[in-house]
Symmetry: C2
Subunit: 406 residues, 2 copies
Amino acid sequence: EVDEERLIETMEEQAEIGATDDGGLHRLTLSDDDERIRDWLREEMEELGLDVRVDAFGNMFGRREGTEDLDTVLLGSHLDSQPYGGIYDGALGVVAALEFVRGLEEEGIETAHPVEVVNWTNEEGSRYQPAMQGSGVWAGVHDIDEQYDQTDEDGNRFEDELERIGYKGDVPAEPTEEYEAYLELHIEQGPYLEEGDHDVGVVTGIVGFTWGAITYHGEADHTGPTPMEYRSDALVAAADVITQIRRIPGTLGERTVGSTGYIDAKPNSINIIPGEVTFTWGFRDPDDEIVEEAYQRVLAEAEAAAEREGVDWEWEERMRAPAVEFADQCVEAVAGAADDAGYDARRIFSGAGHDATHMTEHMDTGMVFAVSENGKSHSESEYTSWEDCHAAVTTYVNAAYELATE
Amino acid sequence: EVDEERLIETMEEQAEIGATDDGGLHRLTLSDDDERIRDWLREEMEELGLDVRVDAFGNMFGRREGTEDLDTVLLGSHLDSQPYGGIYDGALGVVAALEFVRGLEEEGIETAHPVEVVNWTNEEGSRYQPAMQGSGVWAGVHDIDEQYDQTDEDGNRFEDELERIGYKGDVPAEPTEEYEAYLELHIEQGPYLEEGDHDVGVVTGIVGFTWGAITYHGEADHTGPTPMEYRSDALVAAADVITQIRRIPGTLGERTVGSTGYIDAKPNSINIIPGEVTFTWGFRDPDDEIVEEAYQRVLAEAEAAAEREGVDWEWEERMRAPAVEFADQCVEAVAGAADDAGYDARRIFSGAGHDATHMTEHMDTGMVFAVSENGKSHSESEYTSWEDCHAAVTTYVNAAYELATE
Ligand SMILES: NC(=O)NCCC(=O)O
Ligand SMILES: NC(=O)NCCC(=O)O
């Protein structure tokens, strides 16, 4: 049983830290507001009697011992947000894990397995790439020193920012014990649950993806007296590839998506031919081979555009994550919990990346999705009704209980 | 006779104010460095005994009386620069006008016509549009109050910035007497003089142009779980139009050019579908009808792209200047001066805009072009050899003398 009033209160409380004027959240990783929300979480966890630790990459854990010598069940998500993003993304999953512990405390229940609540560092991948960075370092997928050296668009080093907000902890960023399972709740961020009128989603896996950035080096010059055939226009080359990124998915899988989210042109003056343009690609698909194909295709398009426009180019892949399938144990725990509560649940493959991806390297993993109205997220108009939040958290809490006690 | 040493010294002196690390100039209009270069000019003019006045739009004039009751000859250009632009653009023209007066002073020569040196406010049009703004207001082409209200990309109002740097003068920004002629020296900014191995250019007119900005309003959403057919991607629509802007000139005149110099995407995050994108167009041609045709075409392309991507759009034309032809009196004075000095001069139609455009409304107008190496400008690698500077200034000074004494 999850207390809906308390759930709403906790959600509203967290949403105040980094709130935007339009009801969204601007709580970028390692920002001052990230420091504040971390302080808030530490207090919440301490009040619940959890033993709090912070690892060297800023991942925060709160531990509650079990009654038996069994592997730990890990529960959580992330508290960072996109620029001008929504208040549910990530936060609802951390609040759900807190609600689970709160329920145990209220009822005086002990679990056979130890339980840990986790808040992963930089899940969003907006300020620093890759996304799911903290969980990836912890899982051993990324080298911590390489990730410390990442810089944001203003040149701020990751490690310096982590120290600045006081969240470079002293525990190694790696699993220091055995884990039984990881369970994460997240909003769907896509349209399928709402379209099918479902109450909750039983997630069966996560798409794979490639992210990267291309930079064209042309020649800044005057837009007036420079004849068209003398130009090396970095922006025209970029625009050509951006339209291709829109078209490539249509020639690949049914669920392939491709986008450019970021572009920066220099010197960005109405009467200067852009001399340097950096822009990003992102492709996703449930099939790793299709992701690889999209990656090859965008590089081929980038090279063709560079030749057409006579510009130099360089690129870097900033993230590659394989598609993952979740463990039966977890999928069935979630499906069973939804069923027991009388919810209409739908099995669904996630089109967004989640920290859960990296957990599959070390333990059985599963996820619960809450309904996203209009499928919107990464936007201030992201919305999940309190009723849908409650259905997902109820499913989550009962599935977690099953995993922690079985 | 122009003293080459002194010319170089003066050019180097002005280039220190707003100098970039890579030998260029970053002296945006109404910036602190614009204030400094104006202070420098005021001092130079006062030292030459000129009577200095600043008008309500910041245009600076330095007057030297003539011996007869004749109309004034106006000489000058602009001291503002592009972002990371070059040290010659504009500045060489103001320095040439100063050199003319310096020569008169040294030789103790009086002219029949009064002479004024002018530095126009915001010729570049990068920080605030339109370009040639100060000369346009002065000539009565633009309404001063509308121009005061222009804002830069950070929202700073033009008039506030003009007051901030202390250059909102008390003289009305309009011709307060009769003018005989305007003569301006500028670097070519195109490749033709160098390609033909010419020493100097005799400018016969200036292309017309249209500038504007288009904003697409799509929907910010997640780049992963949002199916391709659900998207309203403002950046894909913009990219489509940018590639068309590159192609339109090829279907119009021989000298038509078209470019996008500026783009801004929001919220600019690798995993958010861009919700709002603003970008610019610029088209030029010696034929006003072709400029109009390009304008119609870009709006048609913009509408088609909006429909394809399902985004809303708005646009504004930020500048429209007609093509102009210069007066015989001035063209012949320049051609004669080049000839007399033994230079190989070429007649040329300017592909860049100049304050001279607006002067044609009130007086006979002409221009001298200095050779631009590789035709480059609006870039730190803009370059004109001192020899070519000297040839152009010598031509200019002698043509100005002809106009001021005849
Ligand atoms: N769930 C989520 O929005 N994660 C951020 C990384 C991604 O773009 O998938
Ligand atoms: N000459 C020059 O660069 N003027 C700036 C306005 C333009 O883009 O033509």
